[in-house]
Amino acid sequence: MNEKHDFASDLRTYLVGFALAALLSAVPFAAVALHRPRAQVLWLLIGCGLVQLLVHFRCFLHIDLSEQKRDDLQLILFSVMIVVLMVGGTLWIMGNAHRHMM
């Protein structure tokens, strides 16, 4: 009984995740296909990408705010912080050097 319930709810999260992921991929594609202005497409793409990330974490990797997932969540947040530091720092440094050396 319990197992069945688990299966059903698991299936639902996966299906919801799949639908959301497909939608979030389709929207940017549509924006490109419809020749929307460049800036608009870029921001849309970034926004959809970030939301897509959250959808994957929530629906496929089952990360939520509950107590037992705290370790995983912390690790993900930490990784995000390090990646932001490295990528952001790189963009800043290289952009700045570019401006000074051109």
Binding site: M86, T90, N96
Partner: protein, 685 residues
């Protein structure tokens, strides 16, 4: 393409043999003779089979750890000899070409730096963590024992390429950082940079895997009750180091891979023309390089924390602040990498931000130093060898840290960058901060690993020689740097440099003696092993779980998994009379069977790296196929573990408990006497 080209690529007799300098020829001969001697000895004493089945294919974290340390010691010997050669060159090269051709000198600083960082320091700390960390958290092994062996195989393959480069062809002259455009095809068309690229790439992949393995082990394998905040401090530093490895090694792998694409596939990532930009390399390299220095130093901080508390017979002062300081250092280390290229063209504001961030690291580091001092305050201090190293570390590291904060000021850095002031600074932090820590760890955990204590007198000799040698060899370099001597200088024309280079050469001589002393230390200790046996396993009145088992420990580490109720669990047990209790029940224990995957992947790595270096494509492809085939074949192995039945565990454990009952507990005054059999008179706090 002729058959010869196809078979041997760029490898020709003239290109291969190291006849460009008599000294290089001699060095190559020493390596060859040494290797042959090892082969002969192994054959003579019929040790090939045990070496293969009990060591090389073993997945036991303790054995893998020991092999890492052996690798580190071998590579340390080569790198120290190279360092002494460089110091000797500068001692005699005032107004004269000295005894080393410039090209050979350049290979020396490149191999010295590369070996010290990637094939001495990294294997050393990886080995020590491998040995001690699972024991400290109450685990039976790391989470992925096979991966552990694979990491070792890849690292050893990189080291093997370094040794091969000494005999066949030549190494890079581009420094340990391998900056393009110098290392690009246009300026270094020979095989040197290729050797460097593949050796470093193999090692960086091995280290990434190690980082993942250790981090998962600490998250998943702790004994019941071992909350994160009950872990010994060494495990915290191991955790932070592993996380740094996971994030810091990939930029290096990317940088070397892109450089390889430039050299092999005509790409233009870092070339002068074609839209390349060396700044991308420099940025990527130090994105790895700065966290790397904390990867190197944090485990030593952990060792010192254990050592201060054990040899002061006191709990660590300010445990929580030490943990937070470690985390702060780990995070801050990702915010400062630009200080390695202050002078490369970005604006003053960027420099200021990174300079200030760099100085901030001084704060958590200072917290640690005070915590260690306060740990000793009112403790019952024993000046054992590990504590001597720790004390030497505090004094000298404080100086190195101060010069680091001086260098963090971009204005000052503009004056002294690329001089030997920098060389003095980083040796000043790395030798006390890494090497001393690892040597202290050897003296500290050796009795656990091998069942007998190392000789104290020789340990002290090692300490004195390395400390004095370090001071004489590197303090003059601060003065020389301020006088303007550029680093990597093969010949100079300033009389003012002369006295300082002579003092530094004297220091290097002491360090060479120090290296011999390390050999003597191990040799004498092995000969005297019967006087120093500690079968009961607790020679230092230890506080943490690794001391609660026999020395050497059984393959499965813990006969029954410990239950942890607080920090310094073993000390609690001893004081409460709960140590060495006879367990009510034993269970079957599953341990991993040995596997040849690690050594095979290592061999594949050597073939690949060597083939790529010399453009022997069939060999590179063969190496790649071997690695893929090995992984596929492994997936068909069904039996990967073996069960040690509960009955056998009981037998072994009770035999040891029986032996314990016959030993007389030793007080701390007897610590280095033969009467210390590893059963400690329980006192302390």
């Amino acid at each position: 393409m002729t058959l010869n080209d196809w078979l041997f690529g760029r490898l020709t007799v003239q290109a291969a043999l190291p006849f460009y300098s008599a000294i290089a020829t001699a060095a190559a001969s020493i390596v060859v003779v040494g290797a042959l001697a090892v082969v002969v000895l192994l054959t003579k004493f019929r040790l090939w089979r045990p070496l293969w089945s009990e060591w090389l294919t073993s997945l036991d974290h303790k054995r893998i750890g020991i092999m890492y340390v052996v690798l580190a010691l071998v590579m340390l010997s080569r790198a120290v000899v190279e360092a002494v050669m460089m110091r000797a060159q500068q001692a005699v090269s005032y107004d004269s070409p000295g005894y080393l051709p410039a090209d050979h000198f350049a290979q020396l600083f490149t191999t010295h730096g590369t070996i010290m960082i990637f094939f001495m320091a990294m294997p050393f700390l990886t080995g020590i963590i491998n040995y001690a960390m699972p024991l400290q958290i109450g685990a039976r092994d790391v989470s992925f024992p096979l991966l552990n062996s694979v990491s070792l195989g890849l690292t050893a393959a990189g080291a093997a390429l370094m040794m091969i480069s000494l005999c066949i062809g030549r190494f890079s002259t581009g420094g340990w950082s391998g900056y393009p455009p110098f290392t690009e095809l246009a300026f270094s068309p020979d095989v040197g940079p290729d050797y460097w690229i593949w050796a470093v790439t193999l090692s960086s992949i091995g280290s990434t895997l190690t980082g993942i393995n250790f981090a998962v082990t600490i998250y998943k394998e702790r004994a019941p009750g071992m909350h994160l905040f009950r872990m010994p401090l060494f495990c915290w530093t191991a955790l932070c180091t592993s996380i740094l490895m996971i994030f810091a090694m990939p930029p290096l792998t990317v940088a070397t891979a892109l450089l390889a694409l430039d050299r092999y596939a005509g790409a233009h990532f870092f070339t002068n023309g074609g839209g390349g930009d060396v700044m991308n390399y420099i940025n990527l390299f130090w994105l790895f390089g700065h966290p790397e220095v904390y990867i190197l130093i944090l485990p030593a901080f952990g060792v010192y924390s254990e050592v201060f508390s054990t040899f002061s017979a006191k709990a660590l002062y300010g445990y929580r602040s030490l943990v937070y300081a470690t985390m702060a250092i780990a995070v801050l280390s990702f915010t400062v990498w630009l200080h390695h290229f202050f002078t490369m063209g970005q604006g003053a504001n960027v420099n200021a931000v990174f300079g200030i961030a760099t100085m901030l690291i001084g704060i958590p580091t200072g917290v640690k130093i005070y915590d260690w001092l306060l740990t000793m305050f009112r403790g019952r201090i024993r000046f054992a060898v590990p504590l001597l190293f720790a004390l030497g570390f505090i004094l000298m590291f404080a100086i190195g840290g101060m010069t680091g904060i001086i260098l963090a000021n971009p204005g000052i850095d503009y004056q002294v960058h690329n001089t030997v002031f920098l060389v003095a600074h980083f040796h000043n932090v790395l030798i006390p901060g890494l090497l001393f820590g690892m040597l202290a760890a050897v003296q500290y955990w050796f009795p656990k690993a091998f069942g007998f204590r190392l000789n104290e007198k020789w340990g002290r000799t090692v300490f004195v020689l390395w400390t004095a040698g370090f001071l004489f060899a590197f303090m003059p370099l601060y003065a020389l740097g301020l006088l303007g001597l550029p680093r990597r200088t093969v010949e100079y024309f300033q009389g003012a440099y002369r006295p300082w280079t002579l003092i530094a050469a004297f220091g290097a001589l002491l360090l060479l003696l120090g290296l011999f002393a390390v050999g003597a230390w191990l040799f004498v200790s092995v000969r005297q092993r019967d006087d120093n046996r500690v079968p009961a396993g607790d020679p230092w009145n230890g506080r943490t779980l690794e001391w609660s088992m026999s020395a050497p420990p059984p393959e499965y580490n813990f006969a029954v998994r410990p239950r942890v109720t607080g920090r310094d669990q073993f000390m609690r047990d001893k004081l409460g009379g709960m140590a060495y209790l006879r367990p009510d029940e034993y269970e079957d224990i599953e341990i991993p069977l040995g596997s040849a995957v690690g050594p095979l992947l290592g061999i594949a790595g050597i073939l690949c790296g060597f083939g790529l270096t010399w453009h022997i494509w069939w060999m590179a492809a063969g190496g790649l196929l071997l690695s893929i085939g090995t992984v596929i074949a492994r997936s068909f192995v069904r039996e990967t573990t073996r069960i040690v039945p509960a009955g056998e565990v009981r037998l072994q454990h009770e035999a040891w408990l029986g032996r314990l009952a016959m030993e007389r507990p030793a007080s701390r005054d007897q610590e280095i006497a033969p009467s210390n059999r590893g059963l400690a008179l329980a006192d302390g706090s």
